[in-house]
């Protein structure tokens, strides 16, 4: 287990209020370096809100997010992303009218330097940079298994390929942490199983830490090294899949009180 590693992402006492509503209530959460951890909870538990705090989309009412030893709370979204915190979206948000390759290359924007003049006059450096970006994009597309659709528009890809393209695009940021928001939504059991293998491979190959938000319990139980459960904005449990499976509070949150009694 790599859970003892240094925390590459450390969210401390995060609290988010929308008016009078407390969406996330004092949640602390870490992602150890080189681990796969999951965040689960029933609908409305505050998972997505918490996720949006990590990526900088929401500023927490109180609390701090430390990423790679630096505080990023309140930093602009694009700085956090280019700093190495990449994500995919629950409802796929590709650039539909751009090709698969272009989609991936957009994510390299912050790593590239060509300015207006270099672009207009195609300086040697700009050409080399573009060629390298195209090569890296192809490498990533091959890596996620859609190397054959480089020049297809994203909106024309099959659902499964679009999910893969989202991962490839996120990887183009050369992330230290990858946040996957319900990546197996809409997948059949076979595809989900293949995805579990893919996430493991990703961690092994690239040494990326992965945070998963997921509804599919079989996926979560198979792939996670640690699971955190949110309910009504609060962290109610944290532990290994085996611990979470037998935790009465978790069962209660998912199935209700009578459900937890019935399971006894």
């Amino acid at each position: 287990m790599s859970l003892d590693g240094r925390a590459v992402l450390d969210a401390q006492n995060i609290r988010v209020e929308f008016g009078g509503l407390v969406a996330v209530d004092d949640v602390s959460f870490t992602i150890p370096e080189g681990s796969i951890v999951s965040l689960i909870g029933p609908n409305g538990a505050g998972k997505t809100t918490f996720f949006n705090v990590l990526t900088g989309l929401y500023k927490p009412t109180s609390g701090a997010v430390i990423f790679d030893n630096a505080e990023i709370t309140g930093d602009p979204v694009h700085d956090i992303a280019s700093g190495g915190l990449a994500r995919t979206f629950q409802n796929i948000r590709l650039f539909g009218l751009m090709t698969a390759q272009e989609n991936v290359m957009v994510a390299m924007h912050s790593k590239m330097n060509a300015g207006v003049f270099a672009t207009i006059f195609r300086t040697k450096k700009q050409k080399a940079e573009e060629a390298e970006a195209r090569r890296f994009a192809q490498e990533l597309l091959d890596y996620v298994g859609i190397g054959g659709v480089t020049n297809e528009y994203a909106r024309n890809l099959s659902y499964g390929d679009q999910r893969r393209l989202e991962v490839a695009r996120a990887l183009a940021l050369r992330p230290k942490v990858l946040l996957l928001d319900e990546p197996t939504a809409g997948m059949n059991p076979n595809e989900s199983a293949a995805f579990v293998d893919f996430v493991r491979k990703l961690k092994a190959d690239k040494g990326i830490s992965i945070l998963l938000i997921e509804h599919d319990m079989s996926v979560v139980m198979q792939v996670s090294e640690r699971i955190t459960v949110l309910d009504q904005g609060q962290k109610i449990a944290e532990g290994s899949p085996a611990e979470i499976k037998s935790n009465p509070r978790v069962i209660e949150a998912y199935l209700g009180k009578s459900g937890s009694e019935a399971s006894k």
Binding site: T55, L57, P76, V77, H78, D79, A81, S82, A86, R87, F89, R93, L94, F95, G96, L97, M98, T99, E102, M105, V106, A107, H109, S110, K111, M112, A114, V116, T119, I120, F121, R122, Q126, E129, E130, N151, E152, Y153, R155, N156, R169, A170, A172, L173
Partner: protein
Amino acid sequence: MSNTAPAHTAVSGNRKWAIGFTSVVAFFFILNKFILPEAGSGVQKFFNAWFSLTSMAEIMIWIIMALGLNIIVGYAGLLDLGYVAFWALGGYVAGWLMSPFFSGLNINFFGNPRPGLEFGIHFHVFLVLILGGVFTAIWGVIIGGPTLRLKSDYLALVTLGFGEIIPQFMLNGADIAGYNVTNGAQGIGGLDDVNLFGYVIGTFALPEKFLMVSLMAGAMIFFSIRLRDGRLGRAWLAIREDELAASMMGVPLWRTKFASYAIGAVGGGIGGVGFAILVGGVYADRFNFVISIIILAMVVMGGMGNVWGVVVGAVTLAWINSVGLIQVGELVNNSFGTNINFPSYQFLLFGLLLVLMMLFRREGFIPEARIRMVMNEDKVDEEVSDETKIASK
């Protein structure tokens, strides 16, 4: 759905269009420089009526303007309703820097003042073009800086305001705290003739002037294509597609939009300088709101985002506005014995054209391949839903 590799088709398409553009420019230059002066009066009359060189040269200015606005509207998806402000600013840079207007000064930097009018500021035309671009870019920064943080609808309103304010300032700028800045409604006339490495393009040397603005339009086409295919072009497109996703992929929204606004403004500035040189002066009453809308219509009707589509849109609308309506009107009046004043129905016809376009060809004359795909898919969807309706009956 068939998918060609967009990158390759784009390149060969560009070459064909570039050859076409160059041929048309060369044709009109050679025709007017060498052939027409020798030709019979009938031929002369025909070309002067339907394709007068003055209107051809102005069409080139419209191309530059439309391409500049295309960077803002077509590439980055920001709605600008006051683009005429940049045209005005570019024009006045030429008015200030290459005329006897500031009569108290006596600055000549490789300029070409007219004999007896050596006072004022006289810069070389290249320097004026550069300074015109820089000056409008600075104004793009001043206008865009605060407004680009707004949501797009508000941006449209603020640009609409600036599009009114700047021409109004020019119109009333004859006495700003005691200084005559713009010469008010009279405008600034008597611009220097362009001197290119010793070759002087005289005030009435129309073929040469036409060639000069055509080269400027060609350069603008080139810049537009190169920018679109580069790092910045991709970021603009991504923002146009999905702002949130773009920022989550490390694209700084404000800075990227800002770049499109400033670069688009440069197009307006350079075009403004070119137009001032073309007409030999700069006159404030020409810069009104309608100009902004016409340029926008050129971009939208030509095919937002597609450089060559925008060029075709600019040529078509500019030609209709300058000679097309008048000539067609005369043709109709002469052949049917009617007496309709066609140019006075300009906006009626213009509006009709816009409505027809929106009904039958929303994507513009020559749309970007990407846009065409969406529009066609919509059509397919409609057909499919019609079929299912019939089937369900």
